[in-house]
C-alpha cells in the first residue's frame, strides 16, 4: 500500500531546508487549503453531473447530452453562468445575516470535508477525536440554513428553515448512534485508526448484524441530514417553492446548491470510511494472493469508488420515493430509528464484550 506521508514529509523537509519552520508550516497550510478548495469544487462539479445523469437514467431519459460529448462539460456552463448572474439584494431582509448564511453553510461543509481520509497519509485533519469533530463541524450547517430562512423575510423560507431545523437536529441523533456502534467496535475515534483496523475485513462484514443495521440507519439518517429526497422537506419544491433558499439568487444560491451536493458526498464518504473500510482495499483473510492483487489498486481509488457507490445508492433512494410529511419524518426518527439504534448499540456492546466479532 502506498503511503502518501512519504511525499508530504519530503515536501515538508524541502521547505524547512530553506525557510524557518513557522513559515514552512504556514506555506503548507495555505497550499493544503487551496488544494481542499479545489478538490471541493471539482467534487461538486462531478457530483452535480453525476446526479443529473443518474437521475435521468432512473427516469428513462438521457440527461445532458449536447454540451460536450455526452454532456460532460454541462456543469461548467452552469458554473460560468452562476458566477456572473446578478445577486439580488432584498429590501426588507436582514442584510448581514442574509449574506452570511450561505458562507456558514459552505464553511461547515468544507470543514467536515477536510476530515475525510482519502488515502493512507492523505488525512488533512486527523485528531484522536476525529469523528467527534466531524459531527460537530457538519452540524454547524444547520445554523446557516436557519439564518437563511429567517433573514430572507419570506414566509416560505421561514417554514422551510423551521422544518429543516426540526429534521436535522432529530436525525443527528441517529447518525451519532450508528457511528457510536462502530466506535464501540473499534474503541477509537480517530478516523485514520478506524481505517487501519479494517485491514482484515470491513466493519460491515466484521460487525455481524448490528453493523449492518447501523449502516442502514446511517444511510437513512444521513440522507435526512443533507435534506435530500425523500427527506427534502425544507426545500420541498411542490410545497414551498424552494424552501429556505427561495430568495437567494446568483452565486449565493450556487453556494447552497454546491454545499448540498458535497454534503451528500461527505455523508457517503463517512459511510465508506467507517463501514466499508475507507481507502482500505478489499481483503479476505486467508487469500493472500488475492489480497496482494487488491493492494495494487491505489487507496484513493478505493475510497472514491466506495463513496460514489454509496452516493449512487442514495440517489437511487431519492429518485424512487415520494417525500415524507413533517410528522412522518419525526415519527420515523423517534419511533423507529432511535429505538432501533439504541437496541443495536446494546447488541454491539454485548458482541464486543463477549468477543463474538471476527
Amino acid at each position: 500500500m502506498f503511503d502518501f506521508s512519504i511525499i508530504t514529509n519530503w515536501i515538508h523537509e524541502q521547505l524547512i531546508s530553506f525557510m524557518p519552520t513557522g513559515l514552512a508550516v504556514f506555506v503548507e497550510c495555505v497550499a493544503i487549503g487551496i488544494c481542499i478548495m479545489l478538490m471541493y469544487a471539482v467534487l461538486a462539479i462531478i457530483m452535480i453531473f453525476m446526479e443529473r445523469k443518474v437521475c435521468a437514467a432512473f427516469q428513462c431519459r438521457l440527461g445532458p447530452m449536447r454540451v460536450g460529448p455526452y454532456g460532460t462539460i454541462q456543469v461548467f456552463a452552469d458554473v460560468f453562468k452562476m458566477l456572473i448572474k446578478e445577486i439580488i439584494t432584498i429590501n426588507h431582509a436582514d442584510k448581514f445575516l442574509y449574506n452570511l448564511a450561505p458562507y456558514i453553510v459552505i464553511l461547515a461543509s468544507i470543514m467536515s470535508f477536510s476530515c475525510l481520509p482519502i488515502n493512507k497519509g492523505l488525512e488533512v485533519l486527523d485528531f484522536n477525536v476525529g469523528i467527534f469533530f466531524m459531527l460537530a463541524a457538519s452540524s454547524i450547517g444547520i445554523v446557516g440554513i436557519l439564518l437563511a430562512g429567517w433573514s430572507s423575510n419570506n414566509k416560505y423560507s421561514l417554514i422551510g428553515a423551521m422544518r429543516s431545523g426540526a429534521q436535522m437536529i432529530s436525525y443527528e441523533l441517529s447518525i451519532g448512534l450508528s457511528i457510536l456502534t462502530i466506535v464501540v467496535l473499534t474503541d477509537t475515534l480517530q478516523l485514520s485508526e478506524i481505517v487501519e483496523r479494517q485491514a482484515d475485513g470491513w466493519f460491515l462484514f466484521k460487525g455481524h448484524i448490528p453493523a449492518f443495521i447501523a449502516f442502514v440507519i446511517y444511510l437513512i439518517a444521513g440522507n435526512a441530514e443533507v435534506n435530500r429526497g425523500p427527506f427534502d422537506l425544507p426545500e420541498a419544491e411542490s410545497e414551498l417553492t424552494a424552501g429556505y433558499h427561495t430568495e437567494y439568487s446568483g452565486m449565493h444560491f450556487g453556494l447552497f446548491y454546491v454545499a448540498e451536493f458535497v454534503n451528500l458526498f461527505i455523508i457517503a464518504g463517512i459511510a465508506a470510511t467507517i463501514f466499508l473500510g475507507g481507502w482500505m482495499p478489499l481483503h479476505i483473510p486467508g487469500l493472500d494472493g488475492f489480497n496482494q492483487a487488491m493492494d495494487y489498486i491505489p487507496g484513493f481509488v478505493w475510497f472514491f469508488a466506495k463513496a460514489f457507490f454509496i452516493v449512487w445508492l442514495l440517489m437511487w433512494f431519492k429518485w424512487t420515493f415520494p417525500r415524507l410529511r413533517i410528522d412522518q419524518i419525526l415519527t420515523l426518527e423517534w419511533k423507529y430509528l432511535v429505538p432501533i439504534g439504541l437496541v443495536n448499540l446494546l447488541l454491539m456492546v454485548i458482541i464486543v464484550v463477549f468477543k463474538l466479532h471476527f
Binding site: Q59, R61, E239, P322, Q328
Partner: protein
C-alpha cells in the same frame, strides 16, 4: 325535454327548499346567470334527484336591472356558493343572505359586469391595470331585514394576527394559476380562501358572438385534458337542439376517443400527483406512457393536446388506417405498465401514509357541493354521467362504475387508477366493432338552433361537464354556459383541507385533480 318551472323571486327560497326536502332534488347540477334584456336578469337552476335520476329546471328573474336581488340558495346546496359568486361577478345579481358575496373571477376594481348584454367592451372602461391587487380580508353579506330592506354587512375572513401564506398564483403545486390564501398555525391549516380568475378568459361571453362551429374551437381550451370530451358535450348539445342524429360510426369513434382521452388525463393525474408528492421518477413514467396516446391522437386528429376533432354532425376526418392496430397495441402495453405504477407508487408505504385518511369528503358533502367525477365516486356517490344519462354508445358496453366509500385522498387516487382499467375495457369492447358509415353528416352551411334552452352533459375526465345553450333562433347562441367540472372541486377545498397540514394541501389538491382553465373559463 325536462319540465321548466318558473318561480317568482319572492317565493324562490321556500320553493327551492321544498324541492330539495320533499322531492329530494339534492344535486344542483348547474346554476346559470342570465340576462333576458327587457325582462331583467335571472338565474337558471338545473336540479337532479340522485335517487331517481329525475331532472328539473327552475328559472327565476328579477326585473330590476340596476340592483337585481335574488335570495341565495347556498344554504340548501353548498354548490351554489361559488356559482352565485360567479353570477354576481358576471351579471351583478346580488344574492341576499349569501355569506361571501365577492367577485369570483375579476378584480375587485373591475368596472361593470361583463356578461350583461349592455356591457361596454371597450379598453377604456377596463384598461390593463398593472398594479398589484391589494388583498382584502373582509367580505360583504347582504342581509334582509324584517321589513324587507337590504343592508350590507362586512364579514371578516382573516383576522390581523393570523399567519397567512399565499399559495399561488404561480406555485408549482396549484396546477396552474389558482391562488389559495391559507391561514396557518404551525404547519396546520386553519382556514383557506380560494381566489380564482387568473386565467378567466371570458369564453362564455366570446361564444355569444361566434357562430356555432366557431364556438367548438374554444371548448378544447377549457379543460385541455378533456378536450375531446368537452367538444363532444357541445356537439351533442347542438345536435340535440337541431334534431340531428349522428351515424353509428361517429358514435363509436367519439366514445373511443373519449375513453382514450380519459386514460390520457388520468395518466397525467398520476404523474402530477407523484410529482407533487416528490416521487419525480413516477412522473416521468406516467408521461412516457401518455406520449403513446398522444401519438394515436396525433395520427388521427392532427393535434396532440388540442385536437379539434368533433364537429357538428360528425368528426373532422375519418380515423387513421392504423388507428385500430395502434390502440390494441397500446392496451396490451398499458396493462402491465399499470402494475408497475402500483409497485413504484401505490404500494409504497410513504405514498400510502401521505394519502390515507387525508382530506375526507363525505357523501352528503360531495352531493351538496356537486363534486362529481372521481372525487364524488371516491365518497361513494354514483355520479357517472355515462351511467346516469348514457350517451354515445355507453349503453352498449359493459363497464363498472368504480366506487369507494372512504372519501379520502387515497380513495380518490384509486378511483382514477381503476378507471383507467375500466376505460381499457370499454375500448376493447368497441375497437373491433366500429361499424361502417360516414364520418361526417352533410350540414347546412349556416347552422341555426331553434329557439329554446338545451342542456347536455358528458362524463369528462374529472366530472360532469355540461353545456347549457339558450338560443333565440340565431346563428349565434344567446347564452352559452359550460358547467365546469373544476369549480365544485375547488369550492370543497376549504372543507377538505381544514385541520390538515400544509403538505396535505398538496396531496389533496393533487387528488382532487382540478384543471384551472376549466374553473375560470
Amino acid at each position: 325535454m325536462n319540465e321548466i318551472i318558473d318561480i317568482p323571486v319572492e317565493q324562490l327560497h321556500a320553493e327551492m327548499k321544498k324541492l330539495h326536502d320533499e322531492r329530494h332534488f339534492d344535486f344542483l347540477r348547474s346554476l346559470t346567470g342570465m340576462d333576458w334584456q327587457e325582462e331583467g336578469l335571472g338565474v337558471v337552476y338545473h336540479l337532479e334527484n340522485t335517487l331517481t335520476g329525475e331532472n328539473t329546471v327552475v328559472r327565476t328573474h328579477s326585473a330590476n336591472r340596476e340592483n337585481p336581488e335574488i335570495p341565495t340558495v347556498c344554504d340548501i346546496w353548498k354548490a351554489a356558493e361559488f356559482n352565485e359568486r360567479e353570477a354576481f361577478d358576471f351579471y351583478g345579481i346580488r344574492f341576499t343572505n349569501h355569506p361571501d358575496l365577492r367577485r369570483l373571477y375579476l378584480r375587485d376594481d373591475w368596472v361593470g359586469h361583463p356578461l350583461r348584454k349592455d356591457y361596454d367592451m371597450s379598453e377604456e372602461t377596463n384598461p390593463l391595470r398593472m398594479t398589484n391587487e391589494e388583498p382584502v380580508d373582509t367580505t360583504a353579506r347582504l342581509e334582509v331585514l324584517r321589513d324587507g330592506s337590504v343592508i350590507e354587512k362586512r364579514e371578516v375572513i382573516f383576522e390581523d394576527n393570523e399567519y397567512i401564506i399565499n399559495i399561488g398564483p404561480q406555485h408549482p403545486a396549484t396546477h396552474g394559476v389558482l391562488r389559495f390564501r391559507v391561514s396557518l398555525e404551525g404547519e396546520i391549516i386553519q382556514k383557506l380562501d380560494v381566489h380564482c380568475g387568473y386565467i378567466h378568459r371570458g369564453i362564455e361571453k366570446m361564444c355569444e358572438s361566434l357562430t356555432y362551429p366557431q364556438t367548438l374551437a374554444l371548448t378544447d381550451r377549457l379543460d385541455y385534458l378533456g378536450a375531446h370530451q368537452n367538444r363532444h358535450a357541445l356537439c351533442m348539445c347542438i345536435e340535440k337542439a337541431m334534431g340531428v342524429e349522428v351515424s353509428e360510426r361517429v358514435q363509436y369513434i367519439r366514445t373511443i376517443m373519449d375513453e382514450l382521452q380519459r386514460i390520457d388525463s388520468h395518466l397525467l393525474f398520476f404523474s402530477c400527483l407523484c410529482m407533487d408528492l416528490g416521487a419525480l421518477t413516477a412522473f416521468f413514467y406516467g408521461f412516457r406512457d401518455r406520449e403513446k396516446i398522444l401519438d394515436i391522437f396525433e395520427e388521427t386528429t392532427g393535434g396532440r393536446l388540442i385536437q379539434n376533432y368533433n364537429t357538428i354532425g360528425g368528426v373532422q376526418t375519418d380515423i387513421a388506417p392504423s388507428f385500430v392496430q395502434k390502440v390494441k397495441e397500446f392496451i396490451a402495453y398499458l396493462r402491465p405498465t399499470l402494475r408497475e405504477y402500483h409497485e413504484v407508487f401505490t404500494g409504497n408505504i410513504i405514498a400510502e401514509q401521505r394519502l390515507k385518511g387525508v382530506g375526507v369528503l363525505s357523501r352528503e358533502d360531495a352531493i351538496s357541493f356537486g363534486a362529481t367525477g372521481g372525487t364524488g365516486r371516491a365518497a361513494g356517490w354514483a355520479c357517472d354521467v355515462r351511467k346516469r344519462h348514457p350517451y354515445g354508445v355507453y349503453d352498449k358496453v359493459e363497464f363498472n362504475e368504480v366506487l369507494f366509500t372512504e372519501g379520502d385522498s387515497y380513495a380518490r387516487y384509486m378511483v382514477r387508477m381503476k378507471e383507467i382499467e375500466e376505460s381499457l375495457r370499454i375500448i376493447e369492447q368497441l375497437i373491433d366493432n366500429i361499424p361502417e358509415g360516414e364520418y361526417q353528416q352533410k350540414m347546412k352551411p349556416i347552422i341555426r338552433i331553434p329557439e329554446g334552452s338545451y342542456y347536455s352533459a358528458v362524463e369528462g375526465s374529472r366530472g360532469e361537464f355540461g353545456v347549457f345553450i339558450e338560443s333565440k333562433g340565431d346563428k349565434y347562441p344567446y347564452r352559452m354556459k359550460f358547467r365546469s367540472t373544476g369549480l365544485p372541486l375547488v369550492s370543497c377545498m376549504e372543507t377538505l383541507t381544514r385541520g390538515a397540514k400544509i403538505a396535505d394541501l398538496i396531496a389533496i389538491g393533487g387528488t382532487v385533480d382540478y384543471v384551472v382553465p376549466d374553473i375560470d373559463r
